[in-house]
């Protein structure tokens, strides 16, 4: 599950920073069938979370109502230099995470 996550590399203290996340995932709905007519099992990312230096700042429960290759854009206040850790898990239990660092000055 590759992901593309964009956060500004540096920010002023107190600045609201934009976070953009795009995860490569089919978000299989469970309503489709394969070539021989078998139902393709539902497999969607059901939980996504973002932690800023260990503190959760954003969390989302997703469902099959979210497009394939889910895109999420949200905001957080730059409080201190450190890491933003993004993690997600799908119905098959496959977990993945990504870490990006931000430098906060001022």
């Amino acid at each position: 599950m590759a992901a593309r996550i964009q956060i500004p590399p540096r920010a002023k203290r107190g600045e609201i920073v934009e976070i953009r996340v795009l995860i490569q995932h089919s978000m299989e709905t469970g309503y489709r069938h394969d070539d021989v007519g078998r139902v393709i099992k539902r497999n969607v990312i059901n939980l996504f979370s973002c932690r800023y230096n260990g503190v959760e700042v954003f969390r989302a429960d997703l469902s099959s109502g979210i497009s394939a290759n889910p895109y999420l854009q949200f905001y957080t206040v730059a409080e201190a230099s450190g890491d933003l850790e993004f993690s997600w898990i799908d119905d098959e239990g496959q977990q993945d995470s990504e870490r990006q660092s931000i430098v906060v000055n001022g």
Binding site: M27, T29, V57, F58, A60, G65, T76, E79
Partner: protein
Amino acid sequence: MKRRDFLAGAAGALALPGAALAQVDPLDPLVWVVTNGAPVKKGKVKLVLPQLADNGNSVPIRITVDSPMTEADHVKSIHLYSERNPVRNMANFYLGPRAGKAEIDSRVRLAGSQRVTAVAKLSDGSFWYDAAAVVVTLSACLDES
């Protein structure tokens, strides 16, 4: 009955379901889970969707809540509901004062033209919503069609 009265009545009858739909049903079990029966008022939340979506598999959506996002007054969660999708509760987002700004952008799947509703829970325990109608030309497929 005069023709004019009949037309006025017919127009009223047509307008009524629309008015009834333009509210969040607090008894809807999916909403009840979140609100516990509390009233859901219109306002504060702004839901932006295209009026016409060519492809229901990926419809851009933006939810904004008018909130200062401070420790004392912030948005706790935003819940997204669809009228016609097989899974009606499309997504739940949990925010806090650390978010700085209550705005979320994403892309959703829509199985047909419908109204999408966003309900926001604020830190003072009040609930607010907004709804937007979308016409979807090509539905997100439910089968192999």
